[in-house]
């Protein structure tokens, strides 16, 4: 059996499709999500090209409305929500715990297949005419417009189950499958981040489920709960929707932060600063993140009293994120920093997430939000958090664990080129959008006032630079897969358990259950071992 690993131990399509191995499920999730990311990226590019000129550039208003809706729906439901947790989380979490698998391997496989089913529903919706509701499905627009809304709502509903399954699995795994001696405060912070993420996945997703069921019933049977014409309350839909969709933002960003807490110490060769502060801030974000959904509704007709309460709570949730950023910076202090691709992305994350977080102050503050709500300022803000935060962290994680997942090193030179292009392209795309937004350019606009055209053009050019960065990335990552296995077990000098097994790992992860001899960030101990 010497020489085989989880990729080569069994062969054939069936050995993948029905695998119970968390690593293989993680890899399948990875390719599926990358496919969806590509699709969502194409939609984004088309949206940006259309916005080169006011009025028609390449498509009609109806087509444009479908385009931005599909971009949002695909990126949120098919990419960002599962992204890090389902791919890297699935792959790395049991390894980090010294476990052979997640607690419920069959549930894990079910989660993947449910994801695929949901994705097929979404695909059907796209082929059957698409939808033009925006990814937020606001009623009564979504209950009165045409298009394949039912299929897309069902897709989101089904995808919710895949999220719930992952969340249940991770919580049970973290509680019950830690290697002997791996106490809660010896766990890597990535695991803490996943734990916090899973809490939200389990608690928030069911509310999305019931909201979408009610939406479908309203659309099909006119039950009069959300439809004002029948005595319903459209704001109830918004409350339900954001009770889910605000915590979802933390489902997306917490895993990103979790990756930061691994990459920054490893590439600084220094124990993480403020372990407990970072761990507890993850939990605090997960919990307080549930208290703030009403800040999406400051101008919706929600009562001013509720608005004030939500604004107050929103400012509270800003603090744990700030605490994390400061702790990461302190980790770099007096370290030994090397700027390989994962660390380049980590530095990008620090800068972009800082902008994303700080611009959140404008939106959490109730008076300033009134002017900025539903403008490009909001669009730019959440792209700085979702892309500048989650996607950049995902890229950091992919580059960090790529040798472990696939057993090959990628071209470091091209990785750096691509990282710089992504950073520059992203900023060129979205910084003009902040300015447009605060100057009064509403979002979801097909046509716009001529004064905004120069900034729209800059933004579109930025999207091309960004696209080029991703093309190069795809190139060198695919190229690395054609090479023979060349990755050492521990290429970066990490101290967490996944680096103690081979790259790629054997099917059962470890030859023997690992003993916990040092902490997750104890690089000094690692050096004395060597």
């Amino acid at each position: 059996m010497k020489g085989t690993n989880y990729l080569t131990e069994t062969r054939g399509l069936k050995s993948w499709l029905f695998t119970l191995d968390h690593k293989r499920i993680g890899v399948m999730y990875f390719w599926s999500i990358m496919t969806a990311f590509f699709l969502g990226g194409v939609f984004a590019m088309l949206v940006r090209i259309e916005l080169l000129t006011p009025g028609r550039t390449i498509m009609s208003a109806e087509a444009y409305n479908r385009m931005f809706t599909l971009h949002g729906a695909v990126m949120v439901f098919l990419v960002l929500i599962p992204s890090i947790a389902a791919t890297l989380g699935n792959f790395v979490l049991p390894l980090m715990l010294g476990a052979k698998d997640v607690a419920f391997p069959r549930l894990n496989l079910a989660s993947y297949w449910v994801y695929v089913t949901g994705a097929l529903f979404a695909l059907y919706s796209m082929l059957a005419g698409g939808i033009d509701t925006g990814w937020t499905f606001y009623t009564p627009y979504s209950t009165s417009t045409g298009g394949a809304v039912t299929a897309m709502v069902l897709a989101a509903f089904i995808l919710g189950f895949s999220t719930i399954f992952t969340g249940i699995n991770f919580i049970a795994t973290i509680h019950k499958l830690r290697a002997p001696g791996l106490t809660w405060f010896k766990m890597p912070l990535f695991v803490w981040g996943m734990y916090a993420t899973s809490i939200i996945q389990v608690l928030a997703t069911p509310i999305l489920g019931i909201t979408l069921i009610l939406l479908l019933m309203e659309r099909l049977f006119q039950i009069g709960i959300f439809d004002a014409r029948l005595g319903g309350d459209p704001l109830l839909f918004q409350h339900f929707f954001w009770f889910y969709s605000h915590p979802v933002v933390y489902i997306m960003i917490l895993p990103g932060m979790a990756i930061m807490s691994e990459v920054i110490p490893v590439f600084s060769r220094k124990t993480i600063f403020g372990y407990k502060a970072i761990a507890f801030s993850s939990i605090a974000i997960a919990v307080v993140g549930f208290f703030v959904w009403g800040h999406h509704m400051f101008v919706s007709g929600q009562s001013p009293l509720a608005g004030a309460i939500f604004s107050f709570l929103t400012f509270l949730v800003a603090i744990p994120s700030a605490v994390k950023v400061f702790n990461w910076l302190a980790t770099m202090y007096k370290g030994s920093i090397s700027l390989e691709a994962p660390m380049l992305y980590a530095i990008s994350f620090l800068l972009l997430f800082a902008i994303g977080g700080l611009t959140g102050l404008f939106l959490g503050s109730i008076a300033t939000d009134v002017h900025l709500h539903d403008t490009y300022f909001v669009v730019a803000h959440f792209h700085f958090v979702m892309f500048g935060g989650t996607v950049i962290a995902f890229l950091a994680g992919i580059h960090y664990w790529w040798p472990k997942m696939f057993g090959r090193m990628y071209s470091e030179k091209w990785a750096r080129v691509s990282a710089v292009l992504v950073f520059v392209g992203f900023n060129l795309t979205f910084i003009p959008q902040f300015i447009m937004g605060s100057r009064g350019m509403p979002r979801r606009y097909y046509n716009y006032l001529p004064q905004f055209q120069p900034m729209h053009v800059a933004s579109t050019i930025g999207s091309w630079v960004l696209g080029l960065g991703f093309l190069i990335m795809a190139g060198y990552l695919f190229a690395s897969l054609r090479k023979p296995y060349d990755a050492p077990a521990n290429p970066w000098g990490g101290a967490t358990l996944e680096w103690e097994t081979a790259s790629p790992p054997i099917t059962h992860n470890f030859e023997t259950t690992p003993a916990i001899s040092h902490g997750p960030y104890d690089y000094a101990a690692l050096r004395s071992d060597a």
């Binding site: 606001y138 770099m332 007096k334």
Partner: protein, 313 residues
């Protein structure tokens, strides 16, 4: 700071906009400070502590309660400051003074209809007097829209089956753009309006007699202007392409096939009826979705529209 204000924000239309901009710029500068702090620290560390050799020793400090408290409590104090400042401003902007002039607003796909207390009605254009508080009491006939006036820094969603309101006191005369900020379908981005702030005398005259242009402009030109400003163009094209409503090209004096199988000639009376009672005769192949313009157009304006449609042959 004026250059920054004019880079980031549109022109100010009211005293409130001035207050708003002060808070906005305060948060901007505060954010810039913290961003530069983070970026400079990160940059400095990356350069100063770059890995020169493999076995470089690193600091063993792993925690400091004093530091954690510092960077928890200072940001907390700052954001609480912003919260109370913002709240104070918001409360001031929420409650309209009792003597505010009320204008009823009805939003529908995709136009804004206004009604004054004296019964005057307009579409997509509203005139208000300078220096006096104006309150818009709004509701929607279909989906959610949002009443957004960037120069006043104000926005309020407009809901079906419920009133919401928004008020401001315009500070100078001139035109302000009104936009729809809640996505409402195909012509969402064309659901624009103009808010004209007039001096008192001009406003009173307008309220009684209508626009200068309405009274003197040639009929055909007035019709073209109304076609663009009153929302006709969102559904009816003038180049023959099919929209939610039939195109107006080559309609006048032509035979029109109706949904009930009859055929009528599109004369002036037919067009007048179609504007005022759009459901009376439905063109074959179209949905009966056009709202009525009864009371929204002055007599001369109807004549102008008929003249404009006649000119499209």
């Amino acid at each position: 700071m004026n250059w920054l204000r004019s880079l980031l924000l549109p022109a100010q239309g009211s005293a409130y906009a001035g207050e708003y901009d002060t808070l906005f710029l305060f948060i901007t500068l505060l954010s810039a400070f913290f961003f530069l702090l983070i970026a400079a620290t990160a940059g400095w560390f990356v350069w100063r502590y770059r890995r020169a050799r493999e076995q470089a020793p690193t600091s063993m400090v792993t925690q400091s309660l004093a530091l954690e408290l510092t960077w928890t409590l200072i940001p907390l104090a700052i954001v609480m400051g912003i919260f109370f400042w913002s709240l104070k401003q918001y409360v001031g902007a929420s409650v309209a003074p009792g003597d505010a002039m009320e204008i009823q607003v009805t939003a529908k796909k995709w136009l804004w209809a206004f009604e004054y207390q004296n019964g005057t009605r307009t579409v997509n254009e509203v005139h208000i007097p300078v220096g006096k508080p104006v309150k818009f009491v709004m509701s929607s006939e279909d989906v959610i829209h949002s009443f957004f006036v960037p120069s006043m820094r104000l926005k309020q969603d407009v809901l079906p089956n419920r009133y919401t309101e928004l008020w401001f006191t315009p500070a100078t005369t001139g035109m302000h753009t009104l936009l729809c900020a809640e996505y409402c379908g195909r012509s969402h981005s064309d659901m624009l309006g103009k808010i004209w702030v007039d001096d008192d005398a001009t406003f009173q005259k307008w309220l009684e007699e209508g626009d200068e242009s309405t009274r003197t402009m040639p009929l055909k030109e007035l019709g073209k202007m109304l076609y663009e400003s009153r929302g006709c163009s969102t559904c009816h094209s003038i180049d023959g392409t099919r929209g939610d409503g039939p195109s107006l090209k080559n309609v006048f004096a032509h035979d029109i096939k109706l949904a009930d199988g009859k055929t009528v000639i599109a004369d002036a009376n037919y067009i007048r009826e179609s504007i005022l009672q759009p459901q009376a005769k439905i063109v074959l192949g179209y949905e009966p979705i056009m709202p009525t313009f009864q009371g929204l157009l002055r007599e001369r304006e109807i004549l102008a529209l008929i003249e404009f449609i006649r000119s499209l042959n």
